[in-house]
């Protein structure tokens, strides 16, 4: 929709003001010039309050996630691409093929239009690369100080291939624990840009959409893949502790098998963090029946996002649901949940 009477948005020096959320022409213009142009697809083009689409029969998944990351732009990504990848990954961890996304923006008055366009463009690029369109959305503007730049919420739906029913309560003793790559890249990349921490590193966030990797894994592992999770906030430690409780099992890990990049290890050492607690946005952990573990691992390694995939341990029977780890050093320890807040607004 073009509204001729308005002056063009000043995308280099302009700012979001309250009129951009007021429901009038200015809002229509903001949506058209920034969001529709960046995310363009047949559903958005119809300009309805909802997207209508046909679905094949079968089992669907639905998920939603809010993104409040700070800073908005970080090495290897930004809040826009993260809001696409994160929600796609939550769909994919159910074994589902992601179909459509929605996006809701809460924008603070005074936010630079140039930054908003950059975020929308990044979101559009991430959605196109992933092949998952953003088909409907919403924009709100709140007064200065009532938000921090921009917050985004995305919702997604996906279709589960027949015969699959992945769930966090399906881990069984003997299942192999497969990890798609190195831990902590996202969290450390974000921390390196925080005002009170800032340290020099070339490290990039691992933010990526994992549904392609998941599809390749399912093609060879099928129902032998019992559980998948992406270890985001709280890191691998939180994910495995959750799974241990949900499935009523324990884990035994080998520290020497857990991949951590030297720059991540060094930053964690410096900040007193455990890489197992640091967030990831492009990694997954899969619990796979032993007979299929090797084939699934090979499929992971054949995919660009799983090249460094490894088996890091296995599921064991344990009424206490401990996640235990044999240390490199030769002793044993628990890998526990992180207590308190390591760093707010990591995603």
């Amino acid at each position: 929709m073009t509204i001729a009477v308005l002056r063009r948005l000043d995308l280099s020096r302009g700012h979001v003001d309250l009129s951009h959320g007021a429901g009038g022409r200015a809002m229509v213009q903001l949506i058209a010039d920034i969001f529709h142009s960046a995310l363009d697809n047949e559903w958005l083009r119809r300009g309805n309050d909802q997207a209508a689409f046909d679905v094949a029969g079968g089992r669907m998944v639905m998920t939603t996630d809010g993104y409040v990351v700070s800073p908005l732009f970080f090495p290897g990504g930004d809040i826009g691409s993260l809001a696409v990848h994160g929600t796609i990954n939550d769909i994919a961890m159910g074994g589902a093929r992601p179909l459509y996304l929605s996006a809701s923006f809460i924008i603070e008055e005074g936010f630079p239009l140039a930054d908003l366009k950059r975020i929308a463009d990044s979101m559009g690029a991430a959605a196109r690369t992933a092949g998952v369109p953003v088909v409907t959305g919403d924009t709100k503007v709140v007064e200065r100080g009532k938000a921090d730049g921009v917050f985004i919420a995305t919702t997604g739906i996906g279709l589960v291939p027949q015969g699959l029913d992945l769930s966090a309560d399906k881990a069984r003793p003997g299942d192999r624990v497969l990890l798609s790559g190195s831990l902590g890249d996202h969290g450390v990349a974000i921390m390196s840009k925080r005002q009170n921490l800032s340290f020099e590193t070339d490290l990039l966030s691992d933010s990526a959409a994992l549904h392609g990797l998941v599809a390749d894994m399912i093609a060879v592992g099928g129902a032998d893949i019992h559980v998948m999770r992406d270890p985001t906030r709280g890191g691998l430690a939180a994910t495995l502790n959750e799974l241990a409780h949900q499935s009523g099992v324990g884990f035994r890990l080998e520290e020497s098998a857990v991949p951590v990049k030297p720059e991540v290890a060094a930053a964690c050492e410096l900040l007193g963090l455990d890489p197992l607690h640091v967030a990831n946005e492009g990694k997954l952990v899969a619990l796979v029946a032993p007979e299929s573990a090797e084939a699934v691992l090979a499929a992971m390694r054949a995919h660009p996002l799983g090249r460094e995939a490894v088996q890091i341990g296995e599921v064991v029977a344990d009424p206490q649901h401990f996640v235990q780890m044999a240390t490199d050093f030769g002793g044993g320890r628990i890998v526990d949940w992180l207590s308190g807040e390591q760093l707010p607004r990591i995603c």
């Binding site: 206490q320 240390t327 050093f329 030769g330 002793g331 320890r333 526990d336 207590s339």
Partner: protein, 375 residues
């Protein structure tokens, strides 16, 4: 990680462990206190207990700055933070330490107090400079390792004529605490030797430990925080005991000297003076064990600036932090451990800091309690 991985080498660890097993006399029980919480953390994180024979027991000491702060000092910090003009800057650990009646800085912050987590004293200085309208108070805690940076911050604040910066000083000293433990050993735990923290000795040297070897006949080995450092220190202590020696030995020759860092000592001496006594959680009041700002720096002393009175503090009577800090009890022997008291809902400070004996045992080692029960 160069200079770190070398000290975590599993193959070297197995060699050292074999040597310890050979040299530890099965007729003797070796009870070694690692004074410092940093060592407690390393021992738990790397599973060092699994590499030691059954007759070599590590006893966790009180060297965790967060753990030894009495509840009253936390209450005082909360009172400071609630003053409308005050921005209280603190290390993250202190936010969750329980004060009296279930209060904490984290809860005070949620209720509106301006409490900010910082990573160094210099962060606090920066906040004071950029927000001249706020009274910025740094919650200074720690042993001799963190004291020189606080001294430096005070001198910087003076040089920059920062009128809105002060510290709430809770710095304490290592040697008086060790003496406190040894002198209370009639009702306390038998200790055959001490592992001393290298970072403290990087500042004060090894000389201040001489009395423990001479007067109390206890061997002391000053060592680093990497797991191989700890194993080697254990071996050195076993050798001293087997040979009937009790001297201060320095395992950490890569940074520690007998005399320490004179510049850091001079900085501390310029800014701080001894308190007559400081009340330690668990150890009670110990003479000349804490530091306060000298009168010449009184302007930077939050206690004087805000007329802060000493608060008595009330602790949960069932909490065994005191006995745990003196090495008399192990964390799992506390009734609250893992039931009412967990890192998420700590009732005692030992469950808060990663250097606290209870937090370390809960986070890394509690599976052994179940193994013990099962076997």
């Amino acid at each position: 990680m160069k200079y770190i991985d070398e000290y975590r080498d599993g193959a070297v660890a197995r060699t050292l462990a074999a040597r310890i097993a050979r040299q530890a006399d099965p007729r003797i029980t070796y009870r070694f206190m690692e004074f410092c919480g940093g060592h407690t953390h390393a021992i738990s994180r790397f599973g060092i207990a699994d590499l030691l024979p059954g007759n070599v027991r590590m006893i966790h000491g009180p060297g965790c700055p967060v753990c030894v702060l009495p509840t009253g000092r936390i209450d005082m910090a909360i009172r400071l933070a609630r003053l409308p003009q005050v921005t209280l800057c603190t290390y993250g650990d202190l936010m969750r330490v329980p004060g009296s009646a279930g209060q904490s800085l984290l809860k005070a912050k949620a209720a509106g107090a301006d409490v900010r987590m910082v990573y160094s004293t210099l962060d606090a200085i920066r906040i004071a400079e950029t927000e001249p309208g706020r009274e910025v108070v740094f919650f200074a805690v720690g042993f001799e390792t963190t004291t020189p940076p606080t001294a430096l911050a005070i001198r910087q604040a003076e040089a920059r004529q920062l009128a809105n910066f002060s510290i709430f000083c809770n710095h304490v000293l290592t040697p008086p605490a060790i003496r406190g433990i040894l002198e209370s050993s009639s009702d306390g735990v038998e200790i055959d030797g001490f592992i001393g923290p290298s970072h403290v000795s990087a500042v004060i040297g090894t000389r201040p430990y001489d009395p423990f070897a001479d007067e109390f006949s206890k061997p002391v080995v000053v060592t680093g925080f990497e797991p191989l450092d700890v194993l080697q220190a254990v071996l050195m202590l076993i050798r001293q005991i087997n040979e009937g020696r009790h001297v201060v030995e320095n395992q950490y020759v890569r940074a520690v000297t007998r005399e320490g860092n004179k510049a850091a000592q001079a900085g501390m001496a310029d800014v701080f003076t001894l308190r007559d006594a400081f009340a330690w959680r668990g150890l009670g009041s110990l003479p000349h064990s804490g530091l306060k700002l000298k009168n010449t720096y009184a302007a930077f002393d939050a206690e004087r600036r805000f007329d802060l009175e000493d608060l008595p503090g009330r602790e949960n009577p069932a909490c065994e932090c005191g006995a745990i800090l003196r090495g008399i009890k192990r964390p799992a022997e506390c009734k609250l451990f893992g039931t009412a008291c967990t890192p998420e809902t700590p009732l005692g400070s030992c469950m808060v800091s990663s250097e606290g004996a209870c937090a370390a045992h809960w986070t890394y080692g509690r599976f052994r309690d179940h193994q013990r029960r099962a076997s």
